[in-house]
Structures are given as structure tokens and as C-alpha cells.
């Protein structure tokens, strides 16, 4: 289990520095890119977690990989994490960082799941609705999942609105069977 509390502190530290330096956009993009590349190439993760590879080597690898790609502050942060043996928390840190920067920009992320790609006009409508509910600027994060059959599932923060056919059917099954568990 990733230690969320530790991740929260690292993220907050990075965030404070970045805001002071006015580099929020750059670092945010950097982190997203790194997470993306990390996910695609599992050998990076394996190398970084490998106990037999000495830290200086890992540092060199990180430098060579990222020096040209990301801002110095991001690279420094990664090297710092490596030094503190907290690189495994990167995913959790990125998530916390994202949360902080969203808060900073008065943004709210709405995760929208539909069975078929959401048409732009409907996405707009959804955006307006959520904006009215929350009073914040809305960024839609769409996912397509045919298993929900139809309708839409919207998740904002810790709240979820299930308007999918799948959810409807499972509620119907519970009602007809009269079971509670």
C-alpha cells in the first residue's frame, strides 16, 4: 500500500516550490509525461527499484533519460526522491500534486465513463451542469467502457453519479430479488 501521508508531504513540498518559482504548468506537464513513459516502459521502474544497482548508477540513468526532456526542478525532485528511496511513491505523489494544482486553479476534474465516445455537445452540457453544481471550472476526463452498456457515470472527487444501464439493471435485480447483500 502506498503511504498516502508521505506522498502528500512530498507533493505539498514540491507544489510550494513550484508555485513560488511560477513553474506550475511546466512541472505538472513534466510529471504527467514521466508517469506516462514510466507506465509504457516497465524496465525503468524495475531498474529504479532494483536493489543490486547502486544509487549513483540510477542517478546517472535518470539524468541521461530526462535531462533534455524535463525542467531542472522536476529532475532535481526525482533525484531527491531517489536519494530518499521514495521513488516508488511517484504515482501517489503525482496524484496529490494534481489535486493541489487543481485546487490552486479552482479546477474540478470530472471522470466521465460512457459506453461510446461522448459527443462534444453533450460533453458541454455535462460541463455546464457540473459547473453549476460545484461553482468550479470543469475538466472532463472521458473514458469509454462498453461494459456499462449505455448511459453515463460521472465521478467528481469522492462522489459518483451512476446513470448507466448497467447500474440501472443491477438496482433492478436487487429490487426484484428483494435481497440486501
Amino acid at each position: 500500500m502506498p503511504d498516502v501521508r508521505v506522498a502528500r508531504r512530498y507533493a505539498a513540498a514540491l507544489f510550494n516550490v513550484v508555485v513560488r518559482e511560477n513553474l506550475l504548468d511546466t512541472v505538472e506537464r513534466d510529471l504527467q509525461n514521466i508517469i506516462g513513459v514510466w507506465g509504457e516502459h516497465s524496465q525503468i521502474d524495475e531498474t529504479m527499484a532494483h536493489p543490486r544497482i547502486p544509487t549513483p548508477v540510477k542517478q546517472r540513468i535518470l539524468r541521461q533519460l530526462l535531462e533534455a526532456q524535463v525542467s531542472p526542478i522536476t529532475l532535481n525532485f526525482l533525484l531527491f526522491l531517489l536519494d530518499k528511496q521514495r521513488l516508488d511513491l511517484l504515482l501517489a505523489i503525482e496524484r496529490e500534486f494534481q489535486r493541489l494544482s487543481d485546487e490552486h486553479r479552482k479546477l474540478v476534474r470530472a471522470y466521465v465513463t460512457t459506453a461510446v465516445p461522448l459527443p462534444e455537445d453533450q460533453a458541454d452540457l455535462l460541463r455546464q451542469h457540473i459547473n453549476r453544481e460545484t461553482g468550479l471550472n470543469v475538466v472532463l476526463v472521458p473514458t469509454v467502457d462498453p461494459r456499462i452498456i449505455g448511459g453515463v457515470i460521472v465521478r467528481v472527487g469522492d462522489r459518483l453519479w451512476d446513470g448507466s444501464i448497467r447500474g440501472y439493471l443491477s438496482d433492478l435485480r436487487q429490487t426484484l430479488a428483494g435481497t440486501r447483500y
Binding site: V4, D158, W161, G163, S170, D171, L176, R180, Y181
Partner: protein, 521 residues
């Protein structure tokens, strides 16, 4: 029952027409870590302690969990089902409900799991009424003192350690000393007494549960019994919930002016299951690694047994918790806890059991704190001297082991004690009615408290060899059933032993003694 397909479709169509879904926002979180019957969940803001949550798995539908720990950055849940289908990252939904089970007459005769889901293959439980599993015990004004007896049908218990309806009586002993046998005999003896029985099996073998079920079925006792089974193969959270579920089912009868008996077999395994989930959720361990609230775990359960006041319908819920000791040690943590909560204990001893004294109740260490208020007058009349005599016998017996020749008075005392002990034996699955027990005890002691004071007659067993006593007892029981049924009927009707009936009983005893022959070895 004929079912017409078109009727079925019509009913379903009607149900569907009335089914309208309101889309409401629900609190959600995602699984951080899962295993060993517990899950840690990220998110779930505003969730309440004790609330039910639903884990949405990819392949096996929704699995229910219960919020146990609220921490700074995550929520600790116990999972009421198999955790193997839950994956990291799965969505967890709030339900806004707390845990409840179906109650009512529909459960009678059924075998259910800790959530009230039937596991006996006899179809769904048609009960509309659900009740909270973790509810509070009735308050002071809703209760009244225990006043009616709960007959176990066992001579040694009903005479020496009587149990009243609404009492909590602990049954404690080592493994295989006949604890479950007492439970089964007591359930069988409730036939026709208007007492609904709930047998809660916690951490038992499935084969044992099956065996109990079959025994009860054969005795016709399943007609008024519910079995709640959380067996050794069930996850610890279900074992933890099971006794509360059983108690809730019993409370339905208690609160509707009826009587119920709840047997928790056994609470030491319950404590172990609770210790497991507590430790996995990193609650601080205390003595014997049990969490700090293990006393409350059992007191909250057993306090729900009560005799309700007349305004509340005068129903009752009797609790018979079981505790398994290790090598007769009753000073361990859990046994001492439960001893201090209950209104007395029935202590079963391995030595007695192996010596053929069954039920292996230790008369010296067993006690009932409130049951004597509930004992019938007839039983009080004959049992008055029994406890004293047995205590004297134990003292003498210990002393007599060292002495070679004893004076005749001591020998007589010893012989008398041995005969009493012999009469206290009782085979399994043969409970006796109150009247029969009174007769048997009178037969053994020749004593009763009459209207003119104590009556002491020489017992007819005095000149009988020990080996013949069982046979004599059985023979006499049959003899009175055939020839003098009015004696038992009179005791049952008056709930007392009148001088007249006692004389009749003495005459019958002497008559049977005259015709009784035995083969000396």
C-alpha cells in the same frame, strides 16, 4: 401450488412500472489494499463508522463490507465475503445503511449465514422485516427480574444450577467435555415450551454444524430452531458478526412477547476472529493480543439477553454463551471476562467426563446467580439438600482416599454421595420433564420440604449396589409412566410436591423396590 406464466409476467411488469430510478450522487472510494478479510479504501469522504459499503468487483458482482476504522488518509473495512475477487483500484460505494438481518417467523427451521442468507438450500427467506445487527440492549425500565424457569431437561442443571428465562448462563469447559451436547439437549427440551431457539455456530467445523442440524431434525427440534452458521472456513468478519445476527433474530421474539434462547457456540473463537480483524486493521493489541474493547465485544452481546417488563410484553431472551478453556484454566483473559459478564456458569470438567460422569458438570465450581428465583417450587422442595449433600460428599471423598477403614457413619455418607452422583448422570438426547426430575431427585435423597417442615426418609437406593442404580432409575421411570402417571401430572399441574403426592411417590418407590431384581456380577 400452480404458477401461471402470464401471472408471473404481469407481476413483474407491475413491479417494473413502479421501479423508477433516481440518480443520486453516492460517496465513492477506491481500494488501496486488500487481503485477509479486510480492505483499506482511499476516498469515501463523510463515510460513517459501521456503515455498509459495496465493493464493485469486475467478475463476481458486489461484495458487502463494513467500515471499521476511520483514519486520516484511508478507511479500514472488514469484508463480508471472499476478498479474492476484490482488486486494488476497485470502486467502493457508500450505501448509507448499517448492517441488518432478516428476522421473524420465516427464519424458524432454517440454516442461515451471518448475514441471514439461507445456506440450507430450502429457498429464499420470505421476511419483510429487517433489524439492525448491532443494536443496543433494552434499558432498565424495560426489564424485570428473571422469574420463569428455562428447563434444560438435565437433572444436574435444573436442580443445582437452574437457569431462568432472560438469564445469561455461561457454559465453560475444555474441548470435548460435552458443551455442545448440553446445547442440543436444551434445544430438544424446549419442544412445546414456546421457546424459539437460535444456535449460533462460530468457527465450528462444517461437519459439526451439519451433525447438529441432523440431530435436531431427527428430534423434531428444527421446527422451532434457527441455526446461524459462521464456520471455520468463513472469513473472520462473518464469524465476528454471527453472534450479533443470531441475537437480533432472538430479539424479534423477545420484543414480540415471546421467548427465545440463543446459544453462542463458542465465544472464544468469536474473540479470536475479532482479534484477527483488529490486528489486521492495526488496532493496538492488549493482553493476549486481544484489542482493548474485547470486554465490550461480549458484554454488548450478552446484555441483550433480557426478561422484558410486562408493559413490554414480558418476552425473554436467554443467552447460553460457550467458552472453550485450555486445560481447565478458567483464569485466562476471555473466560474471566465472560464469567464476570454472565449470571453464572456451568463448568464442565474433563476428569469427570472421562470418569463417566456425564454431563460432566462440576457441582462445586458451577453457579447460577439468578436462576433460583425462577426455579419451580417442586424442584426447590427436593433440591434443597442436594447441593449440601454433594458438597459434603466431595469433601469426604477427597479425605476417604487416604483412609483405609472408616467409621460406619462416614461410610454411609460416602455411599449416599456416590448414589447421588450416580443419579445425576444422564444419557444424551433424553431430557426429562420437571416432574420426572423431581421424582428422580426424591428417589435419590428421600428428602423434601413438606408443609410441616423437612421430611427425611431413608432413600430406597441405600441398599442397592451402585451398578444397579441406572437400571433402577430407568425402570422406575417407566413404572410410574405406566402405573402412576397421576404423580407426575400432579407435580406438573401444581408445580409443587404436596404431602399427599410425596406419600404416593414414596409408596410407588417402595412397591417398585419390592419387585426390582438385579443380577449381581
Amino acid at each position: 401450488m400452480a404458477i401461471r406464466p402470464e401471472e408471473v409476467s404481469e407481476i413483474i411488469a407491475r413491479e417494473l412500472a413502479g421501479f423508477e430510478k433516481q440518480i443520486e450522487g453516492v460517496g465513492v472510494g477506491s481500494v488501496l489494499q486488500v487481503g485477509d478479510g479486510i480492505a483499506r479504501v482511499y476516498g469515501l469522504q463523510d463515510v460513517m463508522a459501521g456503515e455498509l459499503v459495496e465493493f464493485e468487483t469486475h467478475h463476481s458482482g458486489n461484495i458487502t463490507g463494513m467500515v471499521f476504522n476511520l483514519e486520516e488518509d484511508n478507511v479500514g473495512c472488514i469484508v463480508m465475503g471472499s476478498v479474492t475477487h476484490i482488486q486494488e483500484g476497485d470502486t467502493v460505494k457508500r450505501t448509507g445503511r448499517i448492517i441488518e438481518v432478516p428476522v421473524g417467523p420465516a427464519l424458524v427451521g432454517r440454516v442461515v449465514d451471518a448475514l441471514g442468507i439461507p445456506i440450507d438450500g430450502k429457498g429464499p427467506i420470505l421476511s419483510d422485516e429487517y433489524k439492525y445487527v448491532l443494536s443496543k440492549a433494552p434499558g432498565v425500565v424495560d426489564r424485570q427480574p428473571v422469574k420463569e424457569p428455562l428447563q434444560t431437561g438435565l437433572k444436574v442443571i435444573d436442580s443445582l444450577i437452574p437457569i431462568g428465562r432472560g438469564q445469561r448462563e455461561l457454559v465453560i469447559g475444555d474441548r470435548s467435555t460435552g458443551k455442545t451436547a448440553i446445547a442440543i439437549d436444551t434445544i430438544i427440551n424446549q419442544r412445546g415450551q414456546g421457546v424459539f431457539c437460535i444456535y449460533v455456530a462460530i468457527g465450528q467445523k462444517l461437519s459439526t454444524v451439519r451433525q447438529v442440524m441432523k440431530t435436531l431434525e431427527d428430534a423434531g427440534a428444527m421446527e422451532y430452531t434457527t441455526i446461524v452458521a459462521a464456520t471455520a472456513s468463513d472469513p473472520a468478519p462473518l464469524q465476528y458478526i454471527a453472534p450479533y445476527s443470531g441475537c437480533t433474530m432472538g430479539e424479534y421474539f423477545r420484543d414480540s412477547g415471546q421467548h427465545a434462547l440463543c446459544i453462542y457456540d463458542d465465544l472464544s473463537k468469536h474473540a479470536v476472529a475479532y482479534r484477527q480483524v483488529s490486528l489486521l486493521l492495526r488496532r493496538p493489541p492488549g493482553r493476549e493480543a486481544y484489542p482493548g474493547d474485547v470486554f465490550y465485544l461480549h458484554s454488548a452481546l450478552l446484555e441483550r439477553a433480557a426478561k422484558m417488563s410486562d408493559e413490554r410484553g414480558a418476552g425473554s431472551l436467554t443467552a447460553l454463551p460457550f467458552i472453550e478453556t485450555q486445560a481447565g484454566d478458567i483464569s485466562q483473559y476471555i473466560p474471566t471476562n465472560v464469567i464476570s459478564i454472565t449470571d453464572g456458569q456451568i463448568f464442565l470438567e474433563t476428569d469427570l467426563f472421562n470418569a463417566g460422569q456425564r454431563p460432566a458438570v462440576s457441582a462445586g465450581l458451577s453457579v447460577s446467580r439468578v436462576g433460583s428465583n425462577a426455579q419451580t417450587k417442586a424442584m426447590k422442595q427436593v433440591a434443597g439438600r442436594l447441593k449440601l449433600d454433594l458438597a459434603r460428599f466431595r469433601e469426604l471423598a477427597a479425605f476417604a482416599q487416604f483412609a483405609s477403614d472408616l467409621d460406619p457413619a462416614t461410610q454411609r455418607q460416602l455411599a449416599r454421595g456416590q448414589r447421588l452422583v450416580e443419579v445425576m448422570k444422564q444419557p444424551q438426547y433424553s431430557p426429562l420433564t420437571m416432574a420426572e426430575q423431581v421424582m428422580m431427585i426424591y428417589m435419590a435423597t428421600g428428602y423434601y420440604k413438606g408443609s410441616q417442615g423437612d421430611v427425611n426418609r431413608p432413600s430406597v437406593l441405600e441398599d442397592l449396589p451402585l451398578e444397579a442404580i441406572r437400571e433402577f432409575e430407568q425402570g422406575f421411570l417407566q413404572f410410574t409412566r405406566d402405573r402412576y402417571p397421576d404423580i407426575a401430572m400432579d407435580i406438573t399441574a401444581k408445580k409443587a410436591l404436596t404431602d399427599e403426592t410425596a406419600d404416593k411417590l414414596q409408596a410407588a418407590l417402595e412397591e417398585f423396590r419390592g419387585q426390582f431384581t438385579y443380577e449381581a456380577d
